[in-house]
Amino acid sequence: MIELYLFLIFMLIAAIIAIEIQDLLAAIISLGAVGFSVAIMFIFVHAPDLAIVQIVVEVLTVVIFVAVVLRTTHVDETIGKKLSGTQILSIVFYAFFVILFLTVMIRSLQELPAFGNATMKVAKEYIKLGLPQTGGANIVADVILDFRALDTLGEATVLFTSVIGVAALMRKVGRK
């Protein structure tokens, strides 16, 4: 699993570059690097459906970001300025939160099964009943389209709502 660790390191470096670089277009390219390395890691953990969806969504995300930046400005003027009082206060609060979060998180990570040993208590039933009850060979598709179809309906509703929001905000007619 050495390639998984290499991609995790690459992902973290690209994330730090995306946060700290001055050129916003370069930051968006680094965001794309993080998203595509996440997609490749989905393939390493045997999740082909997730990898396909992540690649499509990542392409769309980068295109939307680039469209916004090309219509506005691609220089981040706030980098290199002196830190304001509010910013120093928020960094202090962030440091407090990180300490609190890590103390809670380390405990809950110890409760989790170790990497590579999933317990699969619930999944056993879905794997056993997936093919006979729904007739689909792909268990993930069985779960999202048959056993949990109402969740997928909710997802479609959220997507539709956000499309309505984008259309309402971008409209030209009726705007003064």
Binding site: A27, V34, L50, E77, F115, L131, A137, V163
Partner: protein, 112 residues
């Protein structure tokens, strides 16, 4: 354990961008990082060594699959993340057209 911790580090990098950055595009990038971190953590928890992707190819043999439940949950979350990102960027574009800046401190100063 190390793979889970690096997901949490990505989450904290995204949170750092949201809390301390003053540029709106950087804040949107921070939200995207948090979404990736949570999705990747779920997929990594469901991984099983020596198992196959959860697609049935042979009926008579016993199945040895990775956990399909986190994958089904994350599949929904990825698509919803796209919707929220698109809506957030549209609002950011509207803010820029009105105030001609991405700096949230400047936007706070300009009234009306």
């Amino acid at each position: 354990m190390i793979v889970f911790v690096s997901c949490i580090i990505l989450f904290l990098i995204g949170l750092y961008a949201i809390v301390t950055k003053r540029n709106l595009i950087k804040i949107a990038i921070g939200f995207a990082f948090i979404e990736y971190a949570v999705n990747l953590l779920f997929a990594l928890i469901g991984f099983k060594r020596g198992a196959l992707a959860p697609i049935i190819t042979q009926i008579d043999k016993p199945h040895n699959f990775v956990d399909p439940i986190p994958q089904a949950l994350v599949l929904t979350a990825i698509v919803i993340a796209l919707g929220t990102t698109a809506l957030m960027l549209t609002v950011i574009l509207r803010i820029y057209n009105r105030y001609k800046t991405f700096d949230i401190a400047e936007i706070r100063k300009l009234k009306g």
